[in-house]
Amino acid sequence: MTPQLEIIITACIVSTACVIPGVFLILRRVALMSDAISHAILMGIVIMFFIVKDLHSPLLMIGAVATGILTVLLTEWIIQSKRLKEDAAIGLVFPVFFSIGVILISRYAGNIHLDQDAVLLGEIAFAPFNRFLFLGRDLGPVAMWSMGAILVMNLGLLLLFYKELKLATFDKALAATVGFSPVLLYYGLMTTVSITAVGAFDAVGSILVVALMITPPSTAYLLTDRLSRMIVLSVLIGIASAVSGYVMASLLDASIAGSIATMTGAAFLIALFFSPKQGLLTTYLRSKHQKTDFASKMLLVQLMVHEDQQEDFETTVTHMVHHMDWSIKFSKKIARYSVEKGYITRNQDQLFLTPLGREVARAAIVH
């Protein structure tokens, strides 16, 4: 395998491992816990590093996960105490751990390969330098294997607890009565987020972890509201962002992590405008049509009411302007639309309901 391919594969593995817990984070409206956890784990990594003095020890992961859980616990404790609101509580805890981590690094680890830049920004370009040797054979970069293991774990947990996660995400009360503990699932999810964030930190940095956990699932959410489809779409969008981000980075000779994050954003922007269900452009066009349609129905109701009262007083476009407080242009447009739809006929300035129009008006009233 060439180093380039190794980087791309690693990036895709990281991306897939991140989006799976990410889907549940955004559905449960706790997306920013990924930001909090991925910053806070710095402290756990640094403290464990001082104890074991080895940057590749699995104990680093234990320290980091412990800090992640501690962040969640402390945040929850502040929220429960009712002294502060949720947003403030989230924003208070992680800077403390991050600051402790940064201070420890700059005071005691000045000349070791553990600096804040690496944690935050990561450098996946270095991934191929760190080889995984097994029985004397070179099996590829360590990052690929460690993230691969985390991906397998995340996939396994997803398959195992799919039903429970779905229920606890969409209907907490029901989940509790059926016997799953939503609290347990929540902390399980947060543990998974912590493990994934630590695994990814020296490969891609915490910012890309946040980008991958939140952006592809949000993009998928614009395209579908079925959970299973959302997961599959998130994975695909994540992989597409990873590959295109790598291409962009090598073309520009720029940060790979930054480029992948940018690409997740680009994918989101495309969906934001063009998603068939939620896109800004599509809803704009649809709401314009709905407004016309709605106004046309109002006109029909008006005509029917006055038809019943045997007056022809209000059935001209001019009177519509007056009565509904519409502009002349808008009234004409609505009249034209209603004629096109076959709801009314026009005789000079007078408007008359057709049988179809009367039916539509009656349906609108019953609505």
């Binding site: 910053h39 947003d87 208070l92 800077p95 959410y221 930054g258 480029s259």
Partner: protein
């Protein structure tokens, strides 16, 4: 006194004071984390400002940061208003994607053959020691404008934060009020980026206000206290990091602030947890005494 330490002290206390004051409104509006998104979103603005002008002037950097922070804020609002995506995810996306884009630009700048590109990375983690008189002047100007705005629109901000619908019914243009308040918040955040960095700036917005809220039930007192907490943390953080070797300023300030928050959560009169526990114990004791007396008679 050392010139550098003096600059750092003035700069840090200024940042603490202004972000404390404006942060009160962010916390009360339940928009604390918007600060996190704004500060991260500022990074590409700084980088673009440099790429376009090729000049290293604090005013230009801050202008770039403000524009980018502003665009980020508007995007968060638009996403929340027009799609199913909730605020937390919108904030997280803007935060990480803008920051990632900023990194791309920073790496591009690193590759440029120009000499005066150093200093840009200071904005990532903050580097108070690099504050120059020129920077502090710019920060002073921004601080004065921000605090003056807060003073001028005090009544409107209070009404808007407490009851938006009522403000509208009274005839106040709430959209414009929200715009001004957000602009002032963006200014306060951008002002602190060089000193504490993109990542920790949100703590400067949240922590002093969170602490101040515990001590008082008056808005003006909360804002004043928050500004004081911010300034004191800034000042003492700057001093500590000035005299202890290898102690970065931003994280030190944040830790001091967080200590104040913890003390406030535990010991503040009325709202403090230990205070409450103590109060409850007193009450039980009194009650028990009364019961005993009744029993005797």
């Amino acid at each position: 006194m050392d010139y550098t330490i003096f600059m750092v002290m003035i700069g840090s206390s200024l940042v603490g004071c202004v972000s404390g004051a404006l942060g009160s409104f962010a916390v009360l509006r339940k928009q604390s984390l918007l600060g996190d998104a704004i500060s991260h979103a500022a990074l590409p603005g700084i980088a673009l400002a440099f790429l376009i002008t090729m000049a290293k002037s604090p005013m230009i950097f801050m202008a770039g940061a403000m524009i980018a922070g502003w665009i980020g804020t508007m995007l968060v609002m638009a996403i929340v208003r027009h799609t199913v995506i909730k605020e937390d995810a919108a904030l997280g996306m803007i935060l990480s994607v803008f920051f990632g884009f900023g990194l791309v630009l920073l790496t591009l700048i690193q590759r440029l053959p120009t000499a005066n590109k150093s200093g840009l990375t200071h904005y990532l983690f903050g580097s108070a020691a690099t504050l120059l008189l020129e920077d502090v002047k710019a920060m002073c100007l921004m601080g004065v404008v921000t605090l003056a705005g807060l003073f001028l629109f005090w009544k409107e901000f209070k009404l808007f934060t407490f009851d938006k619908d009522y403000a509208t019914a009274l005839g106040f243009p709430v959209k414009r009020i929200e715009l001004i308040l957000t602009l002032l918040t963006v200014t306060a955040i951008v002002m602190g980026l060089q000193t504490v960095g993109v990542i920790l700036m949100s703590a400067m917005i949240i922590a002093p206000a969170a602490a101040a809220r515990q001590w008082t039930d008056r808005l003006w007192l909360m804002v004043v206290l928050s500004a004081v907490f911010g300034a004191v943390s800034g000042l003492s953080g700057a001093l500590l990091s000035g005299f202890v070797a290898q102690l970065p300023t931003g994280p030190t300030i944040v830790l001091i602030m967080s200590a104040i928050v913890l003390i406030s959560l535990l010991f503040a009169p009325n709202r403090g947890m230990i205070w409450e526990w103590f109060q409850r114990r007193q009450e039980t004791k009194l009650l028990r005494q009364k019961l005993m007396e009744k029993h005797k008679s």
